[in-house]
Symmetry: C2
Subunit: 201 residues, 2 copies
């Protein structure tokens, strides 16, 4: 690969990342429809037209971000599975990671993107497919094995594991929403959330 091409590739990768970063901020706070390409361009510090050089459409940018958000949430579950310790400890570690990501920086915006994508009617069929399609894997589904295993060995209280997982993610998403509504609101300890899984005497 000629030297010039490598430099070009680097520029292209940079610009793409730059646009995605800007789009994340704009989409998360304004929503897919209200977000204007010119908003994204301005946030990224480049021209309106250039955005279309790197992405086919606004929809494509949004889809890319939804994919990123989904990957990110599945990743932390994956790492939790691989940790050493009890199932409850794995879940606690995962919860701590999630709270951290809600608590600082732009990572929380990925939650908002996910919530928008999964509660809104306006998303394209492709996005819906990613979230609820035939071979789509949702965070809830990916977490269930961990819960079931924990129940088998008696670390986690009995009951429908699906309901436990749903409740857990309801909590997580609610925290992200709350954090946006009230920046600097006090975040609960991971332990408080873990009470969901513990036996009540």
């Amino acid at each position: 690969m000629p030297r010039q091409d490598q430099q070009n590739k680097q520029i292209r990768d940079e610009r793409r990342a730059q646009i995605l970063q800007a789009a994340l901020r704009v989409f998360a706070r304004r929503g897919m429809v209200a977000a204007k390409i010119s908003d994204i361009a301005k946030e990224a510090g480049l021209s309106h037209g250039l955005v279309y050089h790197y992405f086919k459409s606004k929809e494509e940018i949004f889809m890319t971000l939804v994919q990123k958000a989904l990957d990110s949430s599945l990743n932390v579950i994956h790492y939790a599975h691989e940790r050493v310790g009890t199932h409850l400890e794995k879940l606690r570690w995962m919860t701590e990671q999630i709270i951290k990501s809600i608590d600082n920086g732009d990572e929380i915006l990925l939650f908002l993107i996910m919530i928008q994508a999964s509660t809104s009617d306006i998303v394209s069929e492709e996005v819906k497919e990613m979230l609820t399609g035939e071979h789509a894997v949702s965070p809830v589904m990916a977490t269930i094995p961990l819960i079931v295993e924990g129940q088998k060995v008696g670390e986690i209280k009995q009951g429908d594991p699906v309901q436990l997982a749903v409740t857990y993610y309801a909590f997580i998403q609610g925290l992200a929403i709350n954090r946006i509504q009230w920046e600097g609101c006090p975040m609960p300890e991971a332990n408080l959330i873990m009470n969901i899984f513990k036996k009540t005497p």
Copy 2:
């Protein structure tokens, strides 16, 4: 008041309610910006132009709904205060009511409106004022006295009451989101949520 005028007033009240009901459905699922006046008109079964006969703008419709959502959430807290029983029982009753309203009908859509209004940048200053203005009362704030009283008499675990309230509403909002994402998802018992307030031995 002449007979004719009374009939007219009734028609006007009906139409207004009809439009608001339709707007609630459309706004909740598409968002304030993506929702088209023609969508609302179609859902309400009347013409595009008539909507503007009853409301000055799309913004005004949205604002009216935000106010309704806010009133509704404060009302249930108010009733909880007035009930007989321990503070924990009041909170449990309130939680049951909220879960019921999330679980069926269009009431859940009011939660979505509130969440949209409070997480989005696109809402007008007037709406922001309603939610976070000088003499605005948020559900979190309205619930804190109940928690503080419960802590005084030892029914509720110690700790920052603001944090407890935030956590509680995070949970509630998360449940509403979850319910939209997955219609028919299993809803947790009110008791599960009450664990937030209970002392952990």
